[in-house]
Symmetry: C2
Subunit: 287 residues, 2 copies
């Protein structure tokens, strides 16, 4: 199982330079030594390199309009349409999962932000949008709007999911480990196969299934709920909005209050009744 690290690499600072792709890979900043996008379509993309390989790339510093991979011949000429699969899908997944992407600029990338030689780590970006369009060469390309964000986010280690990750007929795995928030949210979503614990719906997008990790007792002051799976529900956006804004709450026996039915649970995911009680006492209007 391959380990994939989201966020900064320990001991690598924004602005650090690497003479070549091998050293960049050994430092853990960008694994592949040729490909521009590092990612898994099941988990997301952890890093990209801007190296002048795609004529449609645009670089505004804090905002990058990046081009997906594929459709080029051996001379790097665009000769076919790109598809939203493989690493292109991984970058879309980084959007729907709000995962940070490490950005590296190479000397071949035509931009005032590029280093004069070698490769330079530019910090963390979020994928804010992805779409397709007809590129300069007349073929469909997938594009990504990457926006720089405060890079004090914690480093997160993700293990690649096993092959049975998306096949519900095979034995489901709960062995993928992530340190801190991303992993905990992903764990809860995976345990429920992205199905809302209230309505059973899993939202379908072109990046795959989508669900939200809803903290029961909110994080931060003055609530100070823990960032733990026991304090997270897997909800669709609609029920997340309702839950956070007093549209419904949950009884100690997990029946819903304000909505019919009860919270769907799976054995591996233990919801702590104390957080449910906190939510009921603080967020529901009529209790």
């Amino acid at each position: 199982m391959k380990k994939r690290i989201f966020g900064h690499i320990p001991d690598v600072k924004v602005g650090d330079k690497f003479n070549n792709r091998d050293l960049l890979s050994k430092a853990g900043v960008h694994g592949p030594t040729v490909a521009g996008i590092s990612g898994s379509k099941y988990v997301g993309s952890d890093s990209i390199v801007l190296s002048g390989g795609y004529e449609d790339d645009e670089d505004f510093g804090d905002v990058i309009i990046y081009t997906g991979a594929g459709g080029q011949n051996s001379k790097k000429k665009q000769v076919a349409d790109q598809t939203l699969d493989s690493v292109n899908l991984s970058l879309a997944k980084s959007k729907t999962e709000s995962l940070p992407v490490r950005v590296v600029r190479g000397h071949n990338h035509k931009s005032e932000y590029s280093p004069k030689s070698g490769y330079q780590y530019s910090g963390l970006y979020l994928v804010e949008d992805y779409w397709k369009e007809v590129g300069k060469a007349g073929y469909i390309i997938w594009r990504y709007r990457l926006v720089s964000f405060d890079s004090s986010a914690p480093t997160t280690e993700v293990n690649e999911p096993p092959a049975d990750y998306v096949d519900p007929k095979r034995k489901s795995s709960s062995s993928n480990k992530i340190v801190r928030d991303y992993q905990k949210a992903l764990n809860v979503k995976n345990w429920h196969k992205y199905k809302c614990q209230v309505c059973g719906l899993a939202i379908e997008t072109s990046a795959g299934l989508y669900a939200e990790a809803a903290h029961i007792k909110p994080l931060g002051e003055p609530h100070n709920g823990p960032d733990s799976e026991h304090n997270i529900l897997c909800l669709c956006p609609n029920h997340h909005v309702m839950f956070d804004n007093g549209g419904f709450t949950i009884a100690d026996d997990f029946t819903l209050i304000g909505l019919p039915g009860e919270l769907t649970q799976v054995k591996v995911h233990k919801v702590d009744i104390r957080f449910i009680k906190y939510h009921r006492e603080h967020y529901y209007k009529n209790t």
Copy 2:
């Protein structure tokens, strides 16, 4: 019809001082001369004053934990539970509509951020959370977490909706005018009575009905869609996520592609087919 202004008041700068509540009201910063919360439960709250009247208020500068109104006797002692109605509901509505709230600190408010005399405009805050708890006096109070945000947001004028605003049996009004974004989003939501144009659902929260204004051709680079009602749909959060992430799109005859059915429309809301086409060509995987 009373005019309510959201955002900064023209010519009033953050830090400006006012000797008394009458001058504060005349300047348009905070209308009521006694009440701490200015707002309508149908539209939202446009401003609050911190003046030491509520023992549970907490002030951390950029973050304020504010207490709702009500439940006090003539000596400002908490003697009864507060309810989520009237101006308290207006502050909750400001959360679900993401409206900016002007914050004013008075000399009576015990905080290092208070002026030594009179009242001082502290800028714009967003309501990030609202909940109830048992206050120091033993009665239920409603609380609001207000967080300072970049105050370059445009000023928005809102006219109070007429009384029939929330009564579907009476004649519906489309005459409430807001300058810029808030008004346009609100217009579209009101025209559809907060019902999703895809599924017909209006999300219920303790702050009232909830819907999202979804831009069809996205705002900003490189799409540069206009902030116009012709480019906005009223969607539930689920269909907003799906729409923005290629889960479905719309044909020129307004039938849905990727989902069964067709877009629900109302006469007053004209959706521009050119923006629909842009979305279809750029966001849907299979067209």
